[in-house]
């Protein structure tokens, strides 16, 4: 998955979002060793200090942890990853509901639409 950056948000928050996505989709597995900050920054085309900032924040969130000399790893705590997955889903739903609200749809209409579209696509 290539890195993509919008111009109106801080880069480090976008890095975090994209790495979270990789963890939730299993592209990065629990316990996987992450590239070095320097290599990963070069690959993403961002400043190493920015990647470092993203890593520090993700360590704080418990999603990655570093071991003194061995490097940095994705958490092996499945519960943390499950929670992240739910949080991301909730954000998606909220954004969706906000957009539907702007189109003038109420909760019942939205539910009916989801039902119908779900049947068509599943």
């Amino acid at each position: 998955m290539p890195w993509e950056f919008r111009s109106d948000l801080p880069i480090y928050t976008q890095l975090i979002a994209q790495i979270q996505q990789r963890i939730v989709t299993g592209q990065l597995q629990p316990g996987d060793r992450l590239p070095s900050v320097r290599d990963w920054a070069a690959e993403a085309g961002v400043n190493p200090n920015t990647m470092q900032r993203a890593m520090t924040e993700m360590e704080r969130q418990g999603l990655v942890h570093s071991q003194r000399t061995a490097g940095r790893f994705v958490t092996e705590d499945e519960a943390v990853i499950r929670k992240l997955r739910e949080d991301l889903a909730r954000t998606q739903v909220r954004d969706f509901l906000a957009a539907m609200g702007q189109l003038g749809f109420g909760p019942d209409e939205i539910a009916a639409l989801i039902q119908k579209e779900g049947e068509n696509s599943l």
């Binding site: 111009s7 109106d8 948000l9 801080p10 880069i11 085309g45 400043n47």
Partner: protein, 232 residues
């Protein structure tokens, strides 16, 4: 923390025009800094002063606490805004030339970059295209293991694919002790790699801040903000 580049009340006048008009600035080691500003805002003048090619009219500029001169040439790797290398030399000869002048010149690194950019080392500089000449000069500049890189419009004549390569090169060779200052108009191309930006306006620092803080506060890219601040 020690500062790598310091300007105090820095003034440089050409006749009666103030190119720099009381500039105060400090830059720390380990940063990638964008020096941005409209034409004639003093970017190149600052770089020339920092490299000892000009002397201040008033105030001072210091590199690692030292007045620019003989001693700081070993700390600073400077890419001027116009071609400065002997055009009759081949790329091979230029590498020897750099190695003679600068003990910190890293031949292996240089070789690797030249190969990646497919620059033919037996060719003379004057026989290359404008873009290729710029690439050669930039590769030579970045092949030194300096503390401070001053790049004056490093990508003006270079195609977008090569720009990406150049930025990648800067990131790959990033040394936590070294600072890279990039003066450019191609803001959108460089802003991803910057730690901080300095907006120069009529010889003064109008803004000096972290790129991510700027985006968080304004919700705008540096490029968009620049267009707003310097609207004609």
């Amino acid at each position: 923390m020690s500062t790598l580049l310091t300007c105090k009340g820095l003034v440089k006048s050409y006749d009666k025009v103030h190119a720099l008009d009381g500039l105060d600035l400090t830059i720390q080691p380990g940063r990638i800094v964008g020096l941005l500003g409209p034409n004639g805002s003093g970017k190149s003048t600052l770089m020339k002063l920092a490299n000892g090619l000009l002397t201040p009219t008033a105030g001072e500029v210091l590199i690692d606490g030292i007045v620019p001169g003989q001693e700081t040439h070993s700390l600073v790797s400077y890419l001027p805004d116009r071609p400065s290398l002997p055009q009759w030399m081949t790329i091979d000869q230029l590498q020897d030339f750099f190695a003679d002048f600068f003990p910190d010149f890293d031949r292996a690194r240089c070789r690797e970059m030249l190969d990646k950019l497919e620059l033919p080392s037996h060719r003379k500089l004057k026989d290359l295209s404008k873009g290729s000449r710029e690439k050669v000069q930039l590769v030579l500049t970045m092949s030194r293991q300096a503390r401070l890189y001053l790049l004056d419009e490093p990508m003006g004549g270079v195609d977008p694919a090569a720009r990406d390569f150049i930025l990648e090169t800067i990131l790959k060779n990033y040394d936590p002790e070294a600072t890279v200052v990039i003066a450019t108009h191609l803001i959108a191309d460089v802003e991803k790699v910057l730690d901080e930006v300095i907006f120069l306006d009529r010889g003064k620092a109008a803004l000096h801040t972290s790129v991510d803080d700027l985006r968080a506060e304004t919700g705008k890219s540096v490029d968009a903000l620049f267009r707003e601040v310097f609207q004609c």
